[in-house]
Symmetry: C2
Subunit: 240 residues, 2 copies
């Protein structure tokens, strides 16, 4: 079954500001949409504080279980930027100064180069640099872990610039808006799932201000199976 | 120290739609802002699929470590609503039909009562019902775990209606907008932290389209300490 060798991903958002209600994390949602379009199943999201042991622990919870780990935030030169060190600790690797990054930073900042900026040349040992058009700092990866900046504009630019390397077999889906209550369609949904075991069905109730009560989402890896299941539902819903 | 008996919280958002990029989770952000205002430190956020073992595992990772666990989503009558059963499993409790909820549902739906709606009377054994003004279905809690619906309007209404029971000692904070780059203020931030060990400082760089480069957030439990640290920074920043 396709399910068995599913390519999976997890997200780790690092930042006290995401937990204090000061900043709404939009990177998770952007990543989710991107991975869906690429055919990769995002199966876990985590938001954690700027804290070394939180980074280490969460990374080690995820990194052996999922194909790719996307980390957002905590890259930078100040005391609350702990992602590089946390990831290195999680892997049991040292933090080393990357000579390519160092020369990039020296060249760009020249006389304005403060010691602290050079800290941005530090990477977990064995890290790979993925340079992106028009951006000085590349995406870092180490093993199956990809490190992105928390600033949404940069996160999005960088993800867009390297996303094609992750592309997998596509998902297919169909949406059906329905003016019944969830409790009225339970049996039909179960019946559809039994007849179409390769697909997944999500049922999403709405609250006021909409013209429908429930959005039904049918999803699978085989387009024809998705269409069959959706047709089966569309045919039977009006009779409920 | 105040830090030692800190009241903490974790969030678990349950729903395939949050992971597929179809729906942006706004409940986490709403909870984060509410808890900050209540003086409770939110320390973990998790987004997980509609899957019993994911719910069970995440719950057990969090429930002994944090004071309160807020769960959003997966309450409802369809096959993809698994929160009640997942929570019960995590606790090693049975799922039982709550007689108060059952009679509320029977009274409200009367003739339209489908069997599936009665599933919404099922709760983890020992659950406590917290009724909210103008809403039929109460917030359920069991041990330190609070269950909320995923629909944002309901999540917010229900959280607002019970939030006062969680109120703790307030946080105080000050924000300073600064037109230096992060690398230029590293030393000053470290110096400030050394002189004011009871406060936390966050440093948040911006990207284009803003009049400042970095937002500095000073936070602590003692208002006077926060003001002192902020004054210290404000005095020295223009000289950098």
């Amino acid at each position: 079954m396709a399910e068995e060798k599913e390519i999976t991903a997890a997200y780790i958002g690092v930042g006290d500001e995401l937990l204090s209600g000061r900043t709404q994390d939009t990177n998770f949602f952007y990543l989710a949409g991107t991975l869906q379009e690429l055919g990769i199943r995002l199966v876990r999201g985590a938001v954690i504080p700027d804290d070394l042991s939180a980074i280490e622990e969460t990374l080690n919870l995820f990194r052996h279980r999922y194909t790719y780990i996307f980390v957002s935030g905590g890259l930078g030169p100040t005391h609350d930027d702990m992602t590089v060190e946390g990831v290195a600790r999680g892997l049991g690797f040292r933090v080393v100064k990357n000579p390519v990054l160092e020369s990039k930073l020296r060249e760009y900042f020249r006389a304005r180069l403060a010691l602290a900026t050079l800290q941005m040349a530090e990477v977990p040992e064995g890290a790979v640099l993925h340079f992106c058009d028009q951006l000085l700092i590349p995406v870092l990866s180490v093993e199956n872990i990809y490190l992105f900046p928390g600033i949404p504009e940069l996160f999005e630019k960088k993800l867009d610039s390297i996303k094609e390397r992750f592309r997998a077999a596509p998902f297919f889906s169909a949406e059906i808006l329905c003016d019944r209550y969830e409790s009225e369609i339970v049996t039909l949904l179960l019946e559809t799932l039994k007849l179409h075991p390769s697909i997944k069905i999500g049922s999403y109730p709405r609250w006021k201000g909409t013209t429908h009560h429930v959005k039904i989402v049918v999803e699978g890896r085989e387009e024809s199976k998705v269409e069959e299941a959706a047709a089966y539902l569309r045919e039977r819903l009006p009779r409920i």
